[in-house]
């Protein structure tokens, strides 16, 4: 699938922002006053900014509000509802804290749950697509949540928890790639099932000499050559390097470096998430 810049920015930024909001809503760290202002401003910029960038992916962004309608069947619609709920609840929770007011625990817990639900909805949009066997699995939303919570812990300065999550999510990502490869080998149809023809089927001629919407969106093959190298780069940047930086004696500079390295690694991993995902329509195009 085509790794559109707007989708990369959206999933990476909103994941980090919502992850940070999970921790802030649970009082980790227990910020208030100006500290609360800074933390919540960063998280709202990331989450809200990411979500608004997602509208850029639309052909008709002026109609974006219609996406709230079909929550009964569509994960994209559920994501819209969950994100508004999450931002609303965290806003409600943050407001008294800005003025050194009371910490509304029940709202905080609900807000954290809504943030996680939003990330789950994002992952489920992809997991619901049977035509992309690499995505069509419960591990897809699980990994989205794991990434968000790990990034959130890092941003919230929860060093011990961040180290544990970095290690766990790194290992989980490695396993998810391995099982994803196996799933593609097992579940991907063949040119025989795609055409119903028997014998050795080879594409003799494409229907058109140039590209079209389908080949550009869904028959993206650039990543496959360097997949192994890029996976290693993603694991090092997103998990290994931040772990080392956090293990060193604490300084704010190292903390910032760990966050930046993690964010860069997440972008690489997310790029691979899209670029490596093979759509079964490729069978009709000889790929």
């Amino acid at each position: 699938m085509k790794p559109a810049a707007s989708l990369l920015a959206f999933t990476t930024l909103s994941g980090l922002g919502l992850g940070l909001l999970v921790f802030l809503s649970l009082g980790l760290p227990p910020v208030s006053g100006w500290g609360a202002f800074a933390f919540f401003a960063i998280s709202f910029l990331l989450a809200g900014g990411g979500l608004s960038i997602s509208a850029l992916h639309l052909g008709r962004p002026e109609r974006a509000l219609k996406a709230f309608r079909e929550w009964r069947t569509s994960w994209l619609s559920r994501e819209a509802w969950a994100s508004v709920t999450a931002l609303g609840l965290t806003g409600l929770y943050a407001l008294p804290l800005l003025f050194d007011g009371p910490r509304l625990w029940p709202i905080g817990i609900l807000a954290a749950a809504a943030c996680i639900a939003t990330v789950m909805c994002t992952g489920s949009i992809y997991a619901a697509l049977r035509a992309v066997p690499r995505w069509h699995h419960w591990s897809t939303p699980a990994m989205f949540v794991a990434y968000a919570v790990t990034g959130g812990a890092l941003l919230a300065g929860q060093v011990t928890m961040a180290m544990a999550l970095l290690a766990a999510t790194g290992i989980a990502q490695f396993l998810a790639w391995r099982t994803g490869d196996a799933r593609v080998a097992r579940r991907f149809g063949t040119r025989n099932t795609a055409t119903g023809l028997h014998g050795h089927v080879r594409l003799f001629e494409r229907p058109h000499t140039g590209e079209n919407y389908v080949t550009e969106e869904m028959v993206f093959v650039v990543a496959r050559k360097h997949a192994t190298k890029l996976r290693s780069i993603a694991l090092v940047l997103a998990f290994a390097l931040p772990l080392v930086l956090l293990a060193l004696p604490f300084s704010h500079l190292l903390g910032v470096a760990a966050v930046l390295s993690h964010a860069a690694g997440v972008v690489v991993a997310r790029w691979l998430f899209f670029a490596e995902a093979e759509h079964v329509v490729g069978l009709y195009y000889g790929r």
Binding site: A131, T193, P207, E217, V280, Y284
Partner: protein, 247 residues
């Protein structure tokens, strides 16, 4: 509403005969023509006369080389369009309700005024049947020419999809696949019509008829046989003689 109907009264769809299709792309052209001049946003082309032309089409014809276990390879022309699936994954993913499946005849349609152009339905379709219009930025797909099949202003003979009406070899058939007595259902029964990518669980309505088995052996002496009609007869014979006489 993007819930799929439990059942549909009729299951309108196409039956495509891979034995007969010669890959002339007339169906592609007829489809583009009709669906550009009639219902919905016209099927646009970008950079039509430039270096990288890209345009929306609702029907594409691939050509596959098929080599059986024994015997010579064959070329199979393979038209690909929306299969109007009973369990259409493109419909349920739509966040706005723009995608829907008509309960009375099972046709999968897009309400273009409600489409936000997110492209998720095109991702959900295993068959690549949906294409975003490069100008209108809304999703386009085969409508089975709803504006022909129900159109009382057209002659009855024209009340079928443009691709079927235009096919010069009769490789495309249109009808109710939900009625076992219909001509198309009989054809599917007789010729062993098949589903594409059955493993995707989409339950396509459209069926494809496999190429008929070819003769196993080809007589290598056939080219050496004497031609049956060497001497022209009738008008051509007269013309031949007349031209001879002219010297």
């Amino acid at each position: 509403m993007t819930d799929l109907p439990e059942t549909t009264e009729r299951k309108l769809g196409l039956v495509i005969d891979l034995d007969i299709c010669v890959g002339c792309h007339a169906c592609v052209t007829a489809c583009k023509g009709w669906n550009t001049e009639n219902y919905g946003a016209p099927l646009a082309d970008d950079d039509a006369y430039g270096e990288e032309p890209v345009g929306a089409f609702l029907n594409r014809v691939h050509s596959f080389e098929v080599t059986p276990e024994s015997g010579p390879a064959q070329l199979v022309h393979f038209p690909r369009s929306c299969l109007h699936c009973d369990d259409a994954p493109c419909v349920t993913v739509c966040p706005t309700g723009a995608s829907w499946k008509r309960a009375e005849d099972g046709i999968v349609l897009v309400n273009e005024d409600e489409c936000i152009g997110c492209g998720l339905c095109a991702w959900a379709c295993p068959y690549g049947a949906r294409e975003m219009d490069p100008s209108a930025q809304v999703m386009k797909k085969c409508t089975l020419c709803v504006d022909r099949i129900d159109n009382e202003n057209l002659d009855p003979i024209d009340r079928e999809p443009a691709c079927v009406r235009t096919c010069p070899t009769g490789a495309r058939h249109f009808g109710d696949l939900g009625d076992p007595e219909s001509a198309v259902s009989q054809l599917v029964e007789e010729r062993g019509g098949m589903d594409l990518m059955p493993e995707q669980g989409t339950k396509p309505v459209n069926k494809y008829l496999p190429p008929r088995p070819k003769d196993e052996e080809i007589d290598v002496l056939a080219p050496l046989l004497a031609p049956v009609a060497d001497e022209p007869r009738g008008f051509l014979g007269w013309l031949d003689k007349a031209l001879e006489r002219m010297g």
